[in-house]
Symmetry: C2
Subunit: 343 residues, 2 copies
């Protein structure tokens, strides 16, 4: 099978994904009978480029500015929705920057991609957290895939694990450390740095944004809890409905100063079925140093799923960066081809 791929958003993750496609081309072909071509790339700043000669952009071209493109080799369009309709593609990789709370403009892009008959793989939490039932219905109606492994813990198998490896199982709850920025800062404070030094350290690592409050205040973890509850427990919980207790920079400073000896602080996201819905929380927890979650430091993450078949299944992600998010996109892409994996 040959897949034509359009990519929306082309930052570190997009570049890592294009690189991974090239690095694994031999294996994709020999193991999954799959060849891929990037037929278009759109970014907010540069607009959209669509390959017109041959069928694919080269890895180098995907990173070039408009004026750097060989003349005639690409069609340039300004608007992403126009790009989506014009680009010849079987799959849209949606990794635009977005507001995780209202899920825009990513949700519009995903809708447009599905409406024009393309499978969608996204790393964006917002659309899944806020509009999963609608997007799933649209995908089902058109027999298209909608996959989003990288929305929680990068490419660590969570949704694919539940779908492919925990069949016939009922997930009754989850508990995890899913926000890297907060965890890097808490680990730094554990190692005697101040809150400010911890934030600066996270920023140096490229993990934290200039304004880290979206992470420290628990909004990122809330969006992830919302995705987990919505998908794994079919409970419609929006990020705003996740109860955030004791989160944020001031609480981190205060609770860290008040830690009993032999204890550490972690930002924990949790969800439990409650009737047809679920109750989700994000909060700073004081845990004994011997607790499993206390061993999760820096950019590592952890998630425990409570199931009716395997009791607790816990998965841990090690050091992570753009390559690990890109792998989640790739594993979703392969699932589309291999399992005709529809929602």
């Amino acid at each position: 099978m040959h897949l034509r791929i359009a990519i929306i958003g082309f930052g570190n993750v997009g570049r890592a994904f294009a690189g991974l496609l090239q690095e694994k081309a031999g294996e994709l072909s020999s193991r999954y009978n799959l060849t891929c071509a990037i037929t278009g790339v759109a970014t907010r700043r540069r607009g959209g480029f669509i390959a017109t000669e041959g069928e694919a952009l080269t890895l180098e071209q995907t990173g070039l500015p408009a004026e750097g493109m060989p003349p005639g080799a690409v069609l340039h369009v300004q608007d992403t929705l126009t790009f989506l309709r014009a680009c010849p593609a079987d799959v849209v990789i949606e990794i635009s920057t977005l507001s995780p709370l209202d899920g825009q403009p990513a949700t519009r892009y995903i809708q447009a991609a599905l409406e024009s008959g393309r499978h969608v793989v996204t790393a964006n939490k917002g659309p899944i957290a806020n509009f999963y039932p609608q997007l799933r219905a649209l995908a089902r109606e058109r027999a298209l895939a909608l996959r989003f492994e990288s929305t929680v813990m990068d490419g660590t198998p969570i949704f694919n694990l539940a779908e492919f490896c925990l069949p016939a199982s009922r997930i009754s709850g989850f508990r995890g450390i899913v926000n890297s920025t907060t965890n890097v800062v808490l680990t730094a404070m554990e190692d005697s740095l101040s809150l400010e030094e911890g934030i600066a350290h996270a920023q140096q690592l490229g993990v934290a944004e200039a304004d880290p409050s979206n992470d420290l205040d628990g909004w990122d973890a809330s969006a992830k809890a919302s995705v987990l509850a919505t998908v794994l427990m079919e409970a419609g919980v929006t990020p705003a409905q996740v109860e955030r207790r004791e989160v944020g920079a001031e609480a981190m400073r205060r609770l860290q100063a008040a830690l009993p000896p032999g204890h550490v602080l972690r930002q924990v996201a949790e969800g439990r079925r409650a009737g047809a819905s679920a109750h989700c929380t994000v909060q700073l927890e004081t845990l004994p140093a011997s607790h499993l979650f206390a061993q999760i430091r820096g950019t590592h993450s952890i998630l425990t799923l409570h199931t009716d078949t395997m009791n607790d299944v816990t998965i841990i992600e090690g050091e992570s960066g753009p390559r690990q998010t890109a792998f989640g996109l790739l594993s979703d892409l392969i699932a589309v081809v291999r399992f005709r994996a529809l929602p």
Copy 2:
């Protein structure tokens, strides 16, 4: 799809599996379009029973002695190989008791099942550790499935995780705690029990055999390391080729007594690629109490896979028993139907 199932071996795991099939019948039908019937059960002591009326043994019948069976309802054969050829079945669930080191008689049963055209799902390590290339070739030749999720960490996704959720990834090594008996004893010693009390405790839990040396001496973990190396790294490492250093009851007693403060003892299995093969070890390790592996207590297990795509992926099994092994069989069975998952 309708699957006729023959089961070889019918102890705690077989009973849990039959129960799980019944408990999940609705879900198997609605989610995977799958109905199942147990058409035969064979045990060493009772011989084989093959349903002759209708198509399935009832859950109650599977546990009955020969003389308890309704007259005419079953065909009784003495020999398991005869049973395998005579029983109308699409899949053979192979969970006989065996010698994990030479893998018999399970390997003969698996061969006979494949040769008579049945898919095979097994929880037995021995055949995979010792004869995987031959059994895989036989299965491939006949386009039959050969699955064995439950051989390592019960139904916790390991082989299914690697196959379905870590596509296009190269596994370069693994490290884990995979023997429950040893871990229960070490945890008991950590809690101030003697070695003998720890063994008695593990026996009370039903985890340890009357003679626990197969577990404490590292043979069980060696067989599992062999399966992991053979399947995940395509390295032909037999259990006897796994280097067992510092294992066994006496080493546990001695190392426990010599533990530095704030440290614990764990039996760790490890494997690393070495050219076209792999080097595997099983040994008692002295670990700081803050080590991730130190939090794995009692019947819990842990396995870290080193990959080229996701760095380290770690999976932890919580409390385990026959139901969790049975779930591994069920998830393999579903994979056969859902993914036509062939080796």
